[in-house]
């Protein structure tokens, strides 16, 4: 036999344990007694009451949908609202409770509807989760009124009021506001309060509708009702009204948004405009766009696939998903990095129209075949001299450039309140080794200096980085949501966080030199975008053009060269910047020719009314 190591228990200990165990036993017996009393009360005293509830009438709880919160622009334009729709439904849960053929014939006569098809649909369809069957969809108000007068003739048939999401600006705001769509299992698994989706069949799928779903959707109300043996509602016992979703006010300026959409009409491209100091997104446009209204109602699969598979990708939000080589618009950021390092702005270089690493090997050409002659940092920006920036790139090195550009927010998400933002790409030797299993070549450093090569940026990143140039280093987090309003009382809800962002440290003098260069791009004699300065007196623009070469690797493996992307970044007015923007036009040709005029048009639109007001 095995020997046990037992703890020796003193008598005092045993007494203590006995007391505690007996105490527990008494408590348990009391609790059990409580249970017995409770069950006696339910099963014996209230037996008759519950028998009635169980046999004849059963309690039914019917949820009531709240209205989804509306979405407004900062200038008070409705971007997403709700249209009332009326459906005729049968509240039932048993086959015997369905309306009879004569009943439907009378109903058909009253409303001028086909009774036979109603009969068929009722007797073949399966009721939804709430036990309601759809009889007629999309009733006009006139027919609703007619039915209401005669409703007593049709017990169990009801008008169900529903709402359909409606986007007044249609394709103009589609990439900001997004859209709602059919609720599926995956959506339900991802929401925090799935019980709030009983009865609902719509959920925010993209854009603001998705990001602020929880604020917009509101809270369900309910009727508790007595239901008879056939499952029809006999009377409503209690009604708790639903709570409407919050109204959201976006920072988007609908006026500017419309103008930007019009300016890009017929082109593939994106515009992002933000207020530099606050990061408020004033306009966010991606073209081509799509009309979310029919999609919301429910397109059939083929129609949707046709939109989805169109070659110009209207569902693709280029402003946050589009990744482009920046071309020369990267130069002001590199210039800033160089000034923060060892380069002085006065230092002149000679541009013969080409550049060689250490004066030997392959020639890297300037866009201007005969060169710019002697250039310093400011005039190199003005004329977009490639040779100057080839040299600068070598001086900074790829790691130096990568660090500086990452400081401006390139290569990481800006944090805009839309889902699925892409990060772009800032290449460095480690990345290339990991991705392509090849070492980094000095030539790749050189072309990175003019925004070519592996580097990719998104329009929203460009706009944010431009804001940092405008504000001497304040890198804001772009935000679309401006405020939340109680839809019933118009009272503002919650306090929005203060403008978020980070500060880039550099001397004011250095920012000023880059500003001078960008001013001369538009206002200088030899500025690449001097064309847009024509007739411009009310304010001054600081900008930078970019023309990015696009090489598309086709399926056959050969490379085909497409028309260049046209880019432009700018802010204005130059002294007190109120708007910073980035324009990208895919395969649009040179930046000065296409993207820059779009910027001028938007600045005029946004700034002129204000200057006019000041004059008065």
């Amino acid at each position: 036999m095995k020997a046990y190591r037992w703890d020796s228990a003193t008598d005092h200990e045993l007494r203590l344990s006995r007391a505690r165990i007996i105490f527990a036993l008494v408590v348990l017996l009391i609790l059990a007694g409580g249970l017995i009393l409770r069950m006696f009360f339910l099963q014996v005293v209230q037996h008759a009451h519950y028998t009635t509830l169980s046999r004849d009438n059963r309690l039914h709880v019917v949820p009531i949908l709240p209205q989804r919160g509306e979405i407004y622009s900062s200038d008070g334009v409705l971007l997403a609202g709700n249209l009332a729709t009326y459906n005729l439904v049968v509240q039932t849960e048993r086959r015997s409770g369905l309306p009879t053929r004569p009943e439907l014939l009378r109903l058909g006569q009253l409303l001028g509807a086909d009774a036979e098809s109603m009969f068929r649909s009722v007797h073949t369809a399966r009721p939804n989760r709430q036990g309601t069957l759809l009889l007629l969809e999309g009733l006009s108000e006139e027919r609703v009124a007619k039915f209401s007068v005669h409703q007593h003739l049709f017990p169990g048939i009801d008008v169900q009021t529903g709402f359909r999401r409606y986007y007044p600006l249609a394709s103009v705001s589609a990439h900001v506001v997004g859209r709602v769509g059919g609720l599926d299992k995956r959506d339900l698994a991802a929401v925090a309060e799935p019980e709030q989706y009983r009865l609902r069949n719509r959920i925010g799928k993209t854009g603001i509708e998705k990001r602020y779903e929880e604020l917009l959707r509101g809270y369900l109300g309910y009727h508790s009702a007595e239901v008879n043996a056939d499952g029809r509602i006999v009377r409503i016992l209690e009604t708790v009204p639903p709570r409407q979703g919050e109204a959201l006010v976006l920072n988007i300026n609908a006026d500017l948004q419309l103008e930007a959409h019009a300016a890009l009409a017929g082109r593939r491209g994106a515009v992002v405009a933000i207020e530099p100091a606050s990061g408020r997104v004033l306009a966010l446009v991606s073209t081509p766009s799509y009309d979310p209204n029919p999609v919301t109602i429910g397109l059939d699969k083929q129609q949707y696939q046709r939109i989805k598979q169109r070659a110009d990708a209207p569902l693709f939000n280029r402003s946050i998903h589009g990744q482009y080589p920046p071309g020369s618009v990267i130069k002001p950021f590199l210039a800033q990095a160089a000034l923060a390092g060892t380069v002085s702005s006065g230092q002149a270089r000679h541009c013969p129209g080409w550049f060689r690493i250490n004066g030997a090997g392959r020639r890297f050409h300037d866009w201007k075949a005969y060169g710019h002659g002697a250039v310093n940092l400011v005039s190199a920006l003005e004329q977009s001299c490639d040779v100057y920036f080839y040299g600068l790139a070598l001086q900074l090195g790829i790691e130096g450039m990568a660090a500086a550009l990452e400081g401006f927010g390139f290569g990481s998400a800006t944090g805009i309140d839309l889902d699925g933002e892409h990060t772009g790409l800032i290449p460095d030797p480690q990345w290339k080794q990991a991705r392509h299993k090849e070492p980094w070549y000095t030539g790749e450093t050189v072309i990175t200096g003019i925004g070519q090569g592996y580097m990719l940026v998104t329009p929203v990143q460009l706009a944010v980085a431009t804001a940092a140039l405008a504000t001497n280093g304040w890198l804001p987090v772009p935000t679309l949501l401006g405020g939340r309003r109680n839809p019933l009382t118009d009272e503002w809800l919650g306090t929005l966080p203060p403008p978020a962002g980070s500060h880039l440290a550099a001397a004011a003098v250095q920012w000023e030199q880059v500003r001078q260069g960008m001013r001369r791009v538009v206002h200088g004699e030899r500025g690449t975008a001097r064309g847009i300065a024509m007739g411009l007196e009310a304010y001054e623009i600081a900008g930078k053009t970019g023309t990015a070469q696009v090489v598309v690797r086709e399926l056959s493996g050969t490379s085909a060269e497409l028309e260049d992307h046209s880019l432009f970044i700018a802010y204005a007015p130059i002294q007190e910047p109120r708007i910073a923007l980035a324009v990208v036009i895919e395969n649009g040709g040179s930046g000065s020719k296409y993207a820059a005029p779009v910027a001028r048009r938007l600045f005029d639109h946004y700034l002129r009314p204000a200057t006019a007001r000041l004059d008065r």
């Binding site: 036999m1 095995k2 046990y4 190591r5 037992w6 703890d7 228990a9 003193t10 005092h12 200990e13 045993l14 203590l16 344990s17 006995r18 505690r20 165990i21 007996i22 527990a24 036993l25 348990l28 017996l29 609790l31 059990a32 409580g34 249970l35 017995i36 409770r38 069950m39 006696f40 339910l42 099963q43 014996v44 209230q46 037996h47 009451h49 519950y50 028998t51 509830l53 169980s54 046999r55 059963r58 309690l59 709880v61 949820p63 698994a189 991802a190 925090a192 309060e193 799935p194 019980e195 009983r198 369900l220 309910y222 508790s224």
Partner: protein, 368 residues
């Protein structure tokens, strides 16, 4: 030697008759009730039957374990179960609500069930280090360990289970002679914390907690369950509607009728008399468990027996209280009755350990 030992324990399977009888009776009741609910879905019944057989095997095997071995296993098992809990946290996607399950191939499994047991075992080891009552340092260590077990469950987030784990842990300290002063002070501190924490919660969290306290305010969900459950129970009456004659469970008015609300189905069909019978079986189990605790001289085993018995009672009480509309709706199964392997297994472990304690005590008695 080893072979001999093995052989010996297999031949002489020692059980405790009262606990064994109750543990054999409940599966029968459970199958009978489930049969009434699941209709034609015999696969479900079959799976439940397999769970029952596994559970019985676990009882018989665990009952033969030497308490000394159990004591030595305690800390490693506790650490393992805590690790599993954290694994659930890492494994689970926090955006998708509470994730409480772990999957090992075909096995689904809820580590928080296991933690409840291993926490009690660990606290019993801590408390048994010195003669009772509990000293201050042991109390503090014990409370720390309880928090350690509760935190990952709170983070899941599964507040209901966390509270039950906390209570199970506190019951060990209570049996170990935790002073009344400290108990009262903790209660007071808990109450005092409410006004501090409440305003810091999000609105939807506040709603959640209010529903938790008063489910009838939320008739779309938990409240609906309770209302329907009360109708089922109440309409059962004194003698019940008779087996297979219940309507609430059959017409699918009762949600979760095979798991958390099986009690309502049972009471609808077997009435108040059936309920009294059911309660008597449970109380027989509970009283027997506490008697075993009372008669055990070993400190660790005594504390463990008492605390484990309380766990079974708390399961039963919370489940019945919830179904009869007395307590908030927490997803707690009715021990030995509800479908579901995790709870079946944990009750089997408890029963096995209680028997093991009883067996060892008897052996010790005969030795002296």
């Amino acid at each position: 030697m080893i072979a001999q030992g093995w052989f010996g324990s297999i031949v002489r399977v020692r059980v405790e008759p009262v606990l064994m009888a109750v543990f054999l009776l409940f599966p029968v009741l459970s199958l009978v009730t489930l049969y009434s609910v699941v209709d034609t879905d015999t696969a479900l019944l079959l799976r439940h039957g397999v769970h029952i057989l596994i559970a019985l095997t676990v009882v018989l095997v665990v009952a033969q374990i030497d308490i000394d071995v159990l004591k030595r296993l305690t800390i490693p098992v506790f650490v393992l179960s805590l690790a599993l809990l954290f694994l659930v946290l890492v494994h689970g996607d926090t955006t998708k609500g509470a994730t409480r399950w772990l999957e090992f191939g075909p096995l689904h499994f809820q580590p928080s069930e296991l933690v409840k047991l291993t926490l009690c075992m660990t606290l019993a080891v801590i408390a048994a280090r010195q003669p009772l009552p509990l000293g201050l340092s042991q109390t503090l260590i014990g409370l720390g360990v309880i928090c350690l077990a509760m935190i990952p469950v709170i983070l899941q987030p599964d507040l209901g289970t966390a509270v039950l784990i906390g209570c199970a842990g506190l019951s060990v300290l209570f049996f170990a002679g935790l002073s009344w002063k400290i108990l009262c002070a903790m209660g007071a501190a808990g109450l005092a914390a409410i006004p501090v924490i409440w305003p810091r919660l999000h609105e939807h969290q506040q709603r959640r907690l209010l529903y938790f306290l008063d489910p009838e305010r939320d008739p779309l969900n938990a409240g609906y369950h309770v209302i329907q459950s009360k109708i089922a129970i109440g309409s059962g009456g004194m003698y019940g509607k008779g087996w297979l004659n219940g309507t609430q469970g059959h017409l699918q008015f009762l949600p979760e009728r095979t798991t958390d609300f099986i009690f309502s189905v049972y009471c609808e069909e077997f009435g108040f008399i059936g309920f009294i019978l059911l309660l008597l079986f449970y109380m027989a189990f509970v009283v027997r468990g506490l008697m075993i605790a009372l008669h055990t001289r070993d400190r660790y085993a005594r504390l463990l027996a008492a605390a484990l018995t309380l766990i079974v009672f708390s399961y039963m009480y919370v489940n019945m209280g919830m179904a009869s509309g007395q307590l908030p709706v927490v997803g707690v199964p009715l021990p030995m009755m509800s479908m579901g392997g995790s709870s079946m297994l944990s009750v089997a472990l408890i029963t096995g350990i209680l028997m093991a304690i009883h067996n060892c005590e008897k052996q010790r008695f005969y030795l002296h």
